[in-house]
């Protein structure tokens, strides 16, 4: 099946995936009409910074800023896509407009999963969320964080550093599901040392009326705080694709070049792409960038474009520790030490994973990613 003429491309989504796709389309030689649609009024920004530097960087609030785009697209910001017509090749928008395309990039990302509809349940996903939270932390409120993943832990760390009393509710040991037991143990110890109260539970729900939200644990215990933050995963923004047949289990499955069809690419947090562990969504910054590059090239060059050869890069900063990881996580069992040793301090570690891949982790250890990547190959 040919994708036909290539004069008009619409990129739906203005996060790092949409931005990178638009840039890469130009680099790949597309000089036609390019339109980028973003539902936020802000220009694209760095999302990872929101739960890290932006919460804490004093008067400097530019840690999330990205250079202005150079793709020369028509940018429609503050506008949401409401539908996609694959046969007529039209993207419909909530302002009533319909954009015709020859190729389209689906990059509408994901949003925070919520535990309730209560306004007192605060989530952090966008720049406005982060700026609001940052303002609220200035009063040093007591904070309850629900969710023991990387985002919940980063938020708990940021709130503690802002001088708040913080309790974190987690299903099991925080970070164990994402990082594996060894690294989770290191972070749990650092979190405790800094004064984080951790409550482990099998389940939690948010209850209450507007103005009075609280968390009820599975054993009936009730927790309360001035600020209730939840970080319990993300939900791909695929509702606008209803009826297209492109959405499977809530995500858009794509091939190794990021294509759902020859004329439709899906990149970033809403796309499930082939990995050694099967078709997976990998909602990480570097993943969005790599997916967008591969897919944009494929839209222009078809099967002459190289497929995505993606190796995850994940980092987190929290409770005074920094972690950089190349390869798939969680890491099972104990690490091999390339530098450093068990018991704390800076360390460079590798794990041989069951799927035959190697995961390399730098903990409090300054190392360029290309070198971390080489470690995963040398040890493989």
């Amino acid at each position: 099946m040919s994708a036909g003429t290539l004069e008009r491309v619409v990129v739906v989504g203005n996060g790092i995936a949409g931005l990178t796709a638009a840039d890469t389309l130009r680099e790949a030689g597309f000089d036609g009409e390019l339109t980028v649609v973003g539902d936020e009024t802000h220009p694209a920004y760095s999302r990872p910074a929101l739960s890290k530097a932006l919460l804490l960087d004093g008067d400097d609030t530019s840690s999330h800023a990205l250079p202005p785009p150079g793709h020369g697209a028509t940018e429609l910001l503050g506008v949401r896509a409401t539908g996609l017509d694959l046969d007529r090749r039209l993207v419909t928008l909530d302002d009533g407009a319909a954009l015709p395309y020859d190729r389209v990039v689906l990059a509408t990302g994901s949003r925070a999963r919520r535990l309730s509809g209560l306004p007192d349940e605060v989530t952090l996903r966008g720049l406005d969320d982060a700026l609001t939270l940052r303002r609220r932390l200035a009063d040093r409120p007591s904070v309850l964080v629900v969710g023991g993943g990387p985002l919940g832990m980063e938020l708990a760390s940021g709130c503690l550093a802002a001088g708040c009393r913080v309790t974190l509710v987690s299903q099991g040991v925080p970070l164990s599901a994402q990082l594996g037991p060894h690294l989770a143990g290191v972070f749990a110890a650092a979190a405790r040392d800094r004064g984080l109260t951790v409550v482990e539970t099998r389940g939690a729900r948010v209850e209450g009326r507007a103005g009075d939200a609280r968390v009820v644990l599975d054993d009936g215990a009730v927790l309360d705080a001035e600020v209730l933050l939840t970080a319990v995963g993300d939900v791909p923004n695929t509702e606008w694709l209803a009826g297209t047949g492109l959405v499977v289990n809530g995500a858009v499955p794509v091939d190794s070049r990021g294509l759902a069809r020859p004329d439709v690419a899906a990149v970033g947090d809403l796309a499930a792409f082939p990995t050694p562990r099967g078709l997976r969504r990998i909602p990480l910054w570097s993943s969005a960038i790599e997916q967008a590059k591969a897919a944009a090239r494929a839209l222009v060059h078809g099967e002459d474009a190289p497929p995505l050869a993606f190796q995850p890069y994940f980092w987190t900063e929290q409770f005074g520790l920094t972690l950089k990881a190349v390869g798939h996580l969680p890491a099972a069992g104990e690490p091999a030490y390339a530098d450093g040793e068990p018991g704390g301090g800076p360390a460079l570690m590798t794990w041989s994973q069951e799927d035959g891949t190697t995961t390399a982790v730098a903990l409090d250890y300054r190392i360029p990613i290309p070198r971390l990547r080489r470690m995963t190959r040398a040890a493989a």
Partner: protein, 62 residues
């Protein structure tokens, strides 16, 4: 045009080096080294791509 590095902000992730190895690299100590600071129009896209991937906004092109 010029690439400008905000060194205190740089965390040595090295995504910029992956985007533009012709222009910069992270040395063995994890410090970013700009191999070329003054760039011409031909390298602008590359430099912008490097600045764009930096998650802590430590690079700019001006």
């Amino acid at each position: 045009m010029k690439i400008v590095l905000d060194r205190p902000r740089c965390e040595g992730h090295g995504l910029c080096e992956e985007a533009a190895p012709q222009l910069m690299h992270v040395d063995d100590d994890g410090e970013l080294v700009l191999d070329r600071e003054e760039i011409d129009e031909a390298d602008a896209a590359l430099a912008n791509a490097a600045a764009r991937v930096c998650p802590v906004a430590a690079l700019r092109v001006e």
